[in-house]
């Protein structure tokens, strides 16, 4: 009886999500416009950093706008996942588990971009693709932790147990986010802290002054990426609701 009630509740929530399709289309168009504008500002509108003289270094500095914005999106996604995981553990409502999975999947994609783009920026600036510096090492650990989350979910068949274990894991993994943010401020590292600089100015390489136009471009890119995150979350949660509807229909046919 309880299972039947749960199934019809799932179907109702899916039906509500499909009827609100226009919201998805509006969000997609808005985020597309913002992302194209961010691309234009990062590649054309923003001025060159004045203290960088080598052409390769000066061009590579423009990676900064999407690199930092992707990192912001990744951190935001992992923190949202931690918050909704707490909500899941308190309320045991399925929707929070969907939010956590959606947010981590999106965060992981953007964190992959951060690592790749960081490596591409490091080559002309540090003359190496990679170095086991505290920030880079913690970023790799953070990335692997969230891959572990996806693997953990894939390894558990029982939906309740999967959601419960996932929530606890996402909560524990989220401690890597503040650690990652503070790594360039606490330890001696080659990675520059351009936004909110710490005490590593002497050791960091590739740092540059934040002029007003550079700051404006960065803020715009961060806003564009946040809108992109909201759009992706909307579609990813809708996907998860469809997946759960398929599961409930299969169960209904199986236990008829």
């Amino acid at each position: 009886m309880a299972t039947k009630a749960m199934l019809s509740q799932q179907e109702k929530s899916t039906a509500a999500s499909t009827s609100a399709f226009s919201w998805g289309a509006i969000l997609t168009v808005i985020s597309g416009i913002f992302m194209l504008a961010a691309l234009y500002m990062a590649l054309v509108w923003a001025p060159d950093a004045l203290n960088l003289t080598a052409p390769a270094e000066r061009y590579a500095q423009r990676i900064f706008y999407f690199h930092v914005s992707s990192a912001w999106l990744g951190f935001l996604a992992f923190i949202v996942a931690a918050v909704v995981s707490i909500l899941y553990l308190v309320t045991r409502k399925d929707i929070w588990d969907m939010w956590a999975l959606a947010s981590i999947e999106i965060g992981l994609a953007f964190f992959t971009m951060v690592i790749i783009s960081g490596s591409l920026w490091a080559k002309p600036t540090w003359n190496v693709w990679w170095t086991w510096d505290p920030r880079l090492t913690i970023s790799t650990i953070c990335w692997l932790l969230y891959i572990g989350y996806i693997m953990l979910r894939g390894a558990i068949d029982n939906p309740d147990r999967r959601a419960r274990f996932g929530a606890v894991y996402a909560l524990l993994a989220s401690f890597s986010v503040p650690l990652n943010w503070m790594a360039i401020r606490w330890w001696r590292t080659i990675h520059p802290a351009v936004v909110a600089p710490g005490n590593n100015a002497d050791e960091s390489m590739g740092s540059f002054g934040m002029s007003a136009n550079i700051q404006t471009t960065l803020i715009f890119c961060v806003v564009a990426f946040t809108i992109f995150y909201i759009t992706l979350m909307y579609h990813r949660i809708k996907l998860e609701q469809l997946q759960r509807r398929v599961d409930s229909l299969k169960q209904r046919l199986l236990y008829r």
């Binding site: 992302m35 691309l39 590649l43 052409p55 390769a56 061009y59 590579a60 423009r62 990676i63 999407f66 690199h67 992707s70 999106i106 994609a109 953007f110 992959t112 971009m113 790749i116 783009s117 591409l120 920026w121 080559k123 002309p124 992109f228 992706l232 579609h235 990813r236 809708k238 996907l239 469809l242 997946q243 509807r245 398929v246 229909l249 299969k250 209904r252 046919l253 008829r256």
Partner: protein
């Protein structure tokens, strides 16, 4: 071109990963909607045969 190669590669990766993510979500949604239609039809057929 030599000086801009890293910039082009980084932005290429951003757009590639974004498109793969969007395509993957859209593709999975399409398949699931097909599955739902098929399962609902199956459920309806079973109900009418009972």
């Amino acid at each position: 071109m030599g000086d801009t190669i890293y910039l082009a590669a980084a932005y290429g990766v951003f757009w590639l990963v974004s498109f793969v993510l969007i395509y993957s979500i859209a593709n999975r949604q399409r398949h699931l909607q097909k599955d739902i239609a098929m399962l609902e039809q199956l459920a309806q057929e079973e109900t009418s045969s009972e």
